[in-house]
Symmetry: C2
Subunit: 89 residues, 2 copies
């Protein structure tokens, strides 16, 4: 095995990352944010829709800068999908 394909969990994590980025984008247009981050609108769309589950580090960093959200917050929310509703008290 030279390079294992992405697992189901990788894809789910990518979906969470995309959802967070889309939420952070808010009302701003996709081409506008993509240009601010220095990537194409199609690529941003694929990231937001979770079709590119593991983008490059600096791509996410540029998006985080363009969207004004800290990288650590992004990583935390991706690692923790929805652990809530399971540990009430």
């Amino acid at each position: 095995m030279v390079r294992a394909p992405l697992t189901r969990l990788d894809w789910q994590r990518g979906e969470r990352l995309g959802a967070l980025l889309r939420q952070a984008r808010g009302d701003r247009s996709m081409p506008e944010v993509a240009a601010a981050a220095g990537l194409s609108a199609e690529t941003l769309r694929k990231i937001e829709t979770g079709r590119v589950p593991t983008p490059a580090f600096f791509t996410v960093a540029a998006l985080a800068t363009a969207l004004d959200i800290p990288l650590d917050t992004l990583a935390e929310h991706c690692a923790e999908p929805a652990p809530v509703r399971q540990v009430p008290a």
Copy 2:
């Protein structure tokens, strides 16, 4: 042109990222940190030596977690190589 090759600046940025990660690793062995981050030692070595300038986001995030350094600090130091010594006052 379908996918532009990495520029010289991309490689320099990758070298800074690698230097930061190697510095953060300290005395810990390469295989130990790689295992903690969930990647192979070869990949970690390539990242540290700057031969893989743009690793995946979650790869860097896992390394940052394993090395206990915030992602934002990492991104900042990579973006700003050494702008000092040029703006004295």
